[in-house]
């Protein structure tokens, strides 16, 4: 028997005014799978992630989490989801510790002190916990954003261009961290423009274009050259 997918999206539509952002997207992600979402600007990647993160309600279609449809009350489903989006969601006037404690309490994290300290060490910010976020560099804010998204130990991690602002060493650190999370059974759905980062550890990749899923394959089914050709065909030249 095929196991129930952790995330299942069926015929998803989302329209902003008259402009369709998603046009009948269907996909599923298994528990412990890393799915990368490629697509040019305006393809609908962020909209899809926002719908899965419960920030935006779909116009039509269905989203299921562990087999249960996400209907009007999404409050509990949010406990399973961590999001690293375009914005940090952090408060610049609060310290890193205050930000993490605030979100830990919103998510009812047990032993928040211990969890905040452990995550600060994981993201390499233990020495800066008492500093206001406004004094952080872009890369440090991104590290803290990742810590914020992991605070409640989410089952699903949604990442929208998570490598933005990270230097080469920090990018490598993030890739290792994400690969570790998948090994621990976490599920990752990551939207990116970067072919190298997107394919490094993923199990499967899909390409979204003008709100439609136009390509889907397991990473190992295609050689790196074939992936580059597919990417060029649907997305454009790698920047």
């Amino acid at each position: 028997m095929t196991p129930t997918p952790l995330i299942e999206v069926r015929n998803l539509h989302k329209t902003f005014g008259l402009r369709p952002a998603l046009r009948g997207v269907s996909l599923s992600v298994a528990k412990g799978e890393w799915l990368t979402l490629f697509g040019p600007n305006g393809a609908g990647k962020t909209t899809l992630i926002n719908v899965l993160a419960t920030l935006t309600r779909p116009t039509r279609g269905e989203v299921r989490l562990q087999g249960h449809p996400l209907t009007s009350d999404w409050t509990d489903a949010r406990r399973y989801i961590g999001l690293v989006g375009h914005r940090s969601f952090l408060y610049p006037d609060l310290t890193a510790a205050e930000n993490l404690h605030f979100f830990a309490r919103l998510y009812d994290v047990s032993a928040p002190e211990k969890r905040v300290r452990a995550l600060a060490e994981t993201v390499g910010l233990a020495e800066r916990l008492q500093d206001p976020v406004r004094t952080f560099s872009r890369g440090m804010v991104q590290r803290l954003t990742i810590a914020r998204a992991l605070l409640h130990d989410p089952l699903i991690l949604l990442l929208d261009e998570p490598y933005t602002g990270l230097d080469a060493a920090a990018s490598e650190w993030l890739s290792d961290l994400l690969a570790d999370m998948v090994r621990q059974g976490r599920t990752i759905l990551m939207a990116t423009h970067n072919l190298e980062h997107g394919l490094a550890f993923c199990h499967r990749a899909v390409i979204l274009r003008r709100g439609r899923l136009v390509f889907e394959a397991r990473r190992d089914d295609l050689s790196p050259d074939e992936w580059r050709a597919v990417y060029r065909q649907h997305v454009g030249e790698q920047r």
Partner: protein
């Protein structure tokens, strides 16, 4: 219920702590209120005979316009930081976000009132017993924060938000202004609030409860849009 209230308070506490660090909203509101009172003092010829009639109206006009500035800033800051999405992402009922914002905004406006009142009393040479005056001030301020918080959330994503907020809030707020001014006037005249302004206090309380309930029910849809 305890968890719900705890999270609402957590959001209010976060707003208060951010404000304590930046002093962005309080500073703007307090300076605006003090300047308005100074301008009224120089522009109006308030004779001893009519100052008790004018004082409550001037006071509430000052509080309302200063409050509008603060309400606008509280959501603009969330939007600019993108932090509202962070709150929406949390497993928190969205009405708790609203309640937290109302608590924070009420405390901001009350603190500006506390700073403004002594100067107002000195410049206009009026005085009132603090206890009874606190009743219409509290009920009126809560009503203002209840309405203003919803409309600040609606207007924050529009280009005309600075103009839109007063246009949306003020017409709905008229009954509260009338009731709050009348009840405050009773206190300034040193008459019994409960005997002479019971109906105005009733109107304030009814407005607060009615609009607070409506806003709690509608805030999810407001954030969604």
């Amino acid at each position: 219920m305890r968890g719900y209230l705890r999270k609402a308070w957590l959001i209010a506490w976060k707003d208060l702590l951010s404000e304590w660090r930046s002093r962005e909203v309080f500073g703007v509101m307090a300076v605006f209120a003090l300047l308005t009172i100074l301008i009224f003092n120089f522009a109006l010829d308030v004779a001893p005979l009519n100052r008790l009639e004018l004082a409550p109206g001037l006071l509430w006009v000052t509080f309302i316009f200063a409050g509008l500035l603060g309400l606008n800033r509280s959501f603009v800051r969330e939007r600019d930081q993108g932090s509202l999405e962070g709150l929406m992402l949390a497993p928190v009922d969205r009405s708790a976000i609203y309640l937290g914002k109302v608590i924070g905004n009420t405390l901001f406006i009350l603190s500006v009132e506390a700073v403004t009142l002594p100067l107002f009393a000195a410049l206009f040479d009026v005085s009132a017993p603090v206890g009874p005056l606190a009743v219409p001030l509290l009920l009126g301020t809560v009503g203002f924060a209840v309405i203003g918080t919803v409309f600040a959330a609606i207007s924050v994503n529009t280009r005309l938000r600075d103009v839109l907020l007063p246009i949306l809030v003020l017409p709905i707020f008229v009954p509260v202004v009338i009731a709050a001014v009348k009840a405050s006037a009773t206190v300034f005249a040193r008459r019994s609030l409960l005997e002479e302004s019971r109906h105005w206090l009733g109107l304030l309380l009814t407005f607060d409860v009615l609009f607070f309930t409506l806003a709690l029910l509608l805030f999810d849809a407001v954030l969604e849009e």
